[in-house]
């Protein structure tokens, strides 16, 4: 910490400063993206280890590797980790790194808030996993259904760890949501109107709406649970007249948008990858935009399809069945548009493209099984069986993770300046592809044969043995494939071939600047005249049929197929001129921000302290649980010392948070350079 205190206020003389402080105090969206990426990959491996232990336990009948309680902890932590600590932050890594680059901005709207989001995520993830050290890992499922998770049935700290860490992680997602919404709406380069935004930015944009509107609902559901557990309220106490389905409704009103929060960014990534390696503009761009919006909108109206088995009655079941089937339409449109983009293109099957095509294929399988249990009668047969497990792993691993790996292979050169090894990448892809299908496809069968989810062992005569053995072998192959990619990343960080600005011949703004980009991103903000500005410069024939304006913002004569197709408004014109804007160009010079006179936000560690204070404050109720346990045991001394600890941590955390928050808000973003 001494280095932090003595470090100079400006560490900006080098292009890419190193050292601990340059990471702890960074407010650069690219560095924060890198922090998200590597932290989330770490948690992805943790969740993977949990999955492997689960598969080892289920490899054969009557598994003896872990006991029932440990098994409950494993599947709960596997689900929670993969959703909140792996896929969401992996998406956030791309949001951070790519959104400002793709819209032609120098940073996000609130750089320090962005750092805050990362630190809250990190502390929340650590806090949740600390539970293993206390032998109190959450064991109520990632969905945390009441009444199992109420104090009566889960008296220990495990559910408290789960509830409190989800509250902490929610703050991270919400803060990032406000930040990215503002960034995308307000920080676009001149000419970057909404219908020219890269498809990843569109996916990210809509995802932020989902986060901002869905997370408050689970916040309240968790607040009710916290109050029930700590203050003895009655929200989930059916003995007091509470509705036994309240938690399920609130959870899934959040939980279903959440699955689109997990998949839409991956859709966005493959929508960047496929056109690049097919050398064709994305087929049906406007329809792709509208289908994302429609998926998100419908995503708020389908939550109860997770609850067909609870007996809501035929009317509710029918309505939610129909809305669920409706979602297949915009989703199917996306699948067909990706295929149409590839059709007739000059395809290059790089590793990124392989992963992207795998998403199209595997997500379709998961989508089809999804439509199957949109029908309540079919769902009643499938619910709580391994068929459901097969379904959501096809959409989450076959969909989200394949898309994210496509994104990693595609953007690693932009992020680090070095290429990943293609032979290793392809080896990793095929290993993962085989492993993933061998793991999850047999689960359809074991599910249809009646194998329930969440059982920690099964008898030998059920007809499930072969399918489970196949799944387990598949999971080991899958793990090997993931590890090859991890090795590829570690190796290429040091010794990968240098990537230029644009190793793939990609069409969007982020490829017009050096890899890794300088801290200010764009020395001169480009004026954007089409969806594919780099192809306009390098390969104009590719974009002949894309609507354009070459006159900047003011006149927006739209040409389709080379013929004038009318005039439209390009962008909110009066405000869209910046002093340093310039025509679309490629930047190769390496100047520092100071040499160029570009004001950059000062580095600051305050967001880290605020995040730490908040985490300590929100962690403090664990000592209330200790107090309850001590009271039950009749140990008054232990109860009162636990109570003291609660107050110390709660107030100490609050003081740290508020003091550093004031410190942050009263310090200007950047010191005056002029």
């Amino acid at each position: 910490m001494a280095t932090i205190a003595t470090a100079p206020a400006h560490v900006g003389v080098e292009m890419h400063p190193t050292g601990l402080r340059s990471w702890l105090a960074t407010v650069d969206h690219k560095r924060i993206g890198v922090l998200y990426l590597f932290t989330a990959l770490f948690f992805f491996l943790v969740g993977g280890v949990e999955a492997i232990i689960i598969r080892a336990q289920l490899q054969g009948p009557n598994g003896t590797l872990v006991d029932a309680h440990t098994y409950n902890q494993l599947f709960t932590m596997h689900g929670t980790t993969m959703i909140f600590l792996a896929i969401m932050p992996l998406s956030a890594a791309f949001f951070n790194f790519l959104i400002p680059l793709q819209i032609g901005a120098r940073d996000v709207a609130f750089p320090r808030l962005n750092a805050f989001s990362y630190w809250v995520f990190l502390f929340g993830g650590i806090f949740m996993n600390i539970s293993w050290l206390f032998a109190a890992a959450p064991d109520g499922g990632w969905f945390g259904y009441t009444p199992l998770t109420t104090r009566t049935y889960s008296p220990g700290m495990s559910i408290d760890f789960w509830v409190l860490s989800l509250q902490i992680l929610g703050v991270s997602s919400l803060a990032a949501g406000f930040n990215f919404l503002t960034t995308i709406i307000n920080m676009r380069a001149p000419g970057m109107n909404l219908m020219r935004m890269p498809m990843f930015t569109w996916a990210a944009f809509i995802t932020q709406f989902l986060i901002v509107l869905a997370f408050p609902v689970i916040t309240i559901a968790l607040v009710f649970l916290l109050f029930d557990r700590f203050f003895g309220t009655n929200f989930y106490q059916t003995s007091a007249g509470a509705d036994p389905l309240l938690w399920q409704h609130l959870f899934w009103i959040f939980g279903h948008p959440e699955v689109y929060i997990l998949i839409l960014p991956a859709f966005g990534l493959v929508s960047e990858v496929i056109p690049t390696y097919a050398r064709k503009p994305l087929f049906g761009y406007p329809v792709m935009v509208f289908s994302i919006i429609l998926i998100a909108f419908l995503g708020f109206g389908v939550w109860a399809h997770h609850m067909f088995a609870v007996g809501m009655g035929p009317v509710a079941d029918t309505v939610f069945g129909v809305t669920t089937m409706l979602i297949a339409i915009p989703t199917g449109v996306k699948i067909f548009n990706w295929i149409a983009t590839m059709h007739g293109g000059s395809l290059r099957f790089t590793t990124a493209m392989l992963f992207a095509v795998a998403l199209v294929a595997l997500f379709t399988i998961g989508g089809i099984s999804g439509v199957m249990h949109a029908s309540p009668p079919a769902d009643l047969q499938q619910t709580d069986t391994y068929f459901i497990v097969a379904h959501f792993h096809y959409v989450l691993f076959g969909g989200s993770m394949m898309g994210i790996f496509a994104g990693i292979y595609h953007y690693f050169p932009k992020i680090t300046g070095r290429l990943l090894s293609e032979p290793l990448g392809k080896l990793s892809f095929w290993t993962m592809f085989v492993g993933m299908n061998l793991t999850f496809f047999p689960m359809h069968m074991s599910g249809l044969l009646g194998m329930p989810r969440r059982i920690y062992r099964y008898a030998a005569d059920q007809g499930w043995d072969g399918f489970n053995l196949a799944s387990s072998i598949g999971s080991y192959i899958l793990a090997a494939g993931v590890l090859i990619s991890m090795w590829n990343i570690i190796r290429s960080l040091r010794s990968g071939a240098r990537a230029g600005n644009d190793p793939w011949g990609a069409p969007t703004l982020e490829w017009a600047i050096p890899s890794p980009p300088p801290e200010y991103n764009f020395a001169r903000i480009p004026t954007v005249t089409s969806r594919y500005p780099l192809w306009d410069m390098k390969a104009p024939a590719l974009t002949a049929e894309v609507p354009h304006t070459r006159q900047g913002d003011k006149a927006m004569h739209v040409d389709v197929a080379g013929k004038p197709a009318g005039v439209t408004h390009a962008s909110p014109a009066p405000h869209s001129r910046q002093p340093a804007e310039s025509p679309m160009h490629i930047e190769t010079e390496s100047y520092t921000a100071r040499q160029l006179g570009i004001p950059m936000p000062d580095m600051t560690i305050k967001p880290l302290w605020v995040a730490l204070g908040m985490t300590i404050m929100l962690a403090s109720p664990l000592f209330l649980t200790k107090k309850f346990a001590a009271e039950q045991a009749g140990n008054a001394a232990a109860a009162s010392s636990a109570m003291t600890m609660f107050w110390v941590l709660c107030l100490g955390g609050a003081v740290l948070m508020i003091a550093q928050l004031y410190n942050w808000l009263l310090t200007p973003l950047e010191s005056d350079h002029h």
């Binding site: 120098r106 709207a109 609130f110 919400l174 949501g177 406000f178 930040n179 919404l181 503002t182 709406i185 307000n186 920080m187 676009r188 901002v212 509107l213 869905a214 997370f215 408050p216 609902v217 916040t219 309240i220 559901a221 607040v223 009710f224 109050f227 203050f231 003895g232 309220t233 009655n234 929200f235 007091a240 007249g241 509470a242 509705d243 609130l250 200010y520 020395a523 001169r524 903000i525 962008s571 909110p572 009066p574 405000h575 910046q578 002093p579 340093a580 160009h585 490629i586 930047e587 190769t588 010079e589 100047y591 921000a593 040499q595 160029l596 006179g597 570009i598 004001p599 004031y662 973003l669």
Partner: protein, 228 residues
Amino acid sequence: MTSVPLTAAHGVNDAHSHHHTSTGLDNKKLAIWAFIGSECMLFASLISTYLIYKGRSRVGPFPHETWRDPSTGRVFKEILDIPVTSASTFVLLMSSLAMVLALAAVQNRNVPKRTRGERILGSSQLWLLMTALLGITFLGFQAYEFTSFVREGLTIRTNLFGSTFFTLTGFHGAHVTAGVIWLLTLLAIDRKRGLGPRDEVNVDIAALYWHFVDVVWIAIFTLVYLIK
């Protein structure tokens, strides 16, 4: 490909985010609207839970009717005191008026004030203080209400009504508290160095937040107190 040579001149007058945005709106203003959208879902969840649980409490006291405890024979009268809450609602509504005047005073700080009335209307410090004081008065009403309910036998643990009522209005009160702290901070800055052009948007977003919290209270007052 670069045709224009890069020099320091390119960046010197390059404005950062406070001068240039795609929509012309300040980033903070967009962010507070996104935040308010999120808060709508937060309060929607709280209010719907209250409404779903309305009338489901197994034991009293109840909001709008008296209840006789069958085991003890004790009679609990209806808990909600609409005249008192109408007064606190009026106070909160007036605080929004004061907030409007505070923002106007900050925005028109350079307009010369000739008469005493103009000076009063144009005093941002006065109206920021007034808004905060009205907010504190509202919180005082709430503290009185909560303690009298507890005295009458309704706590957060008593029944579903108690749990939902105290959580919903408590969340609202916490929001008012945060708003009061925000206003007092702005007041302190105003007293220390005066609010300048860059602070306009800071008062503006505080006002948006304050009005939002006020609007939420109107929904709560109508749905919880007035509708039986």
